[in-house]
Symmetry: C2
């Protein structure tokens, strides 16, 4: 049994050519602990709807560009290196407010599902 | 109650200035579903030890540079846009084989912890 799976997305900036500027990794890689989207969206892009989650917290990691993530009534400026955790119960949208593309990764995991991590979960071999 | 937390990492390339070229997000952001490290490591960097995990699968997303991820006995070339899922039971290391910095994100989640995702977990609001 092979203990890994690999895909090639190509340059992150070229993900803009995919449908809605997104690639979802869960189904492609058979992930069992998270859904991940890798995104590059054009100027003026905005999530087409406000949404909350039932079980899952999200982490947004901004790789390039400038935008606004709105969580409930807070408008949060983001740029390269901004990282935001959003709890399931919050409504959220992301908007590209820069003159160029906005690239980001969004990671969705079940709240309170991580039991141990780092050295606590590692085993030297 | 505020439903989000934000930090600023600054430019991803400058994470090389942090200890071991890594920033771990779990404790900083109070994550409950994953540990995430954001990494920029110098030429010739190699994980100092082979390790497996007890519970957690990992996803490596390469943002910049060129390297080799070794999973068990397989040496896998990676570059911008390469994404690899590694099961808990596999041993793994990552090595920078390029002439420049290697930037990547590593996401650690408990295997089989995600119960629903995407539209199945979303609620319009």
């Amino acid at each position: 049994m092979v203990n890994y799976q690999k895909i090639e997305l190509g340059k992150i900036s070229e993900i803009i050519k995919h449908e809605n500027g997104k690639v979802f990794l869960h189904d492609i890689l058979g992930l069992t602990g998270c859904e991940i989207s890798v995104n590059t969206v054009p100027k003026n892009f905005k999530t087409p709807f406000n949404h909350k989650h039932k079980q899952n917290e999200e982490v947004y990691i901004i790789l390039k560009g400038e935008g606004i993530i709105t969580v409930d009534n807070d408008h949060i400026n983001v740029k390269e290196g901004s990282v935001i955790k959003v709890l399931a119960a919050a409504s959220r949208t992301i908007e590209n407010k820069g003159d160029n593309e906005l690239s980001f990764i969004c990671i969705q995991t079940k709240e309170n599902s991580l039991k141990q991590f780092g050295v606590g979960d590692a085993e030297l071999c």
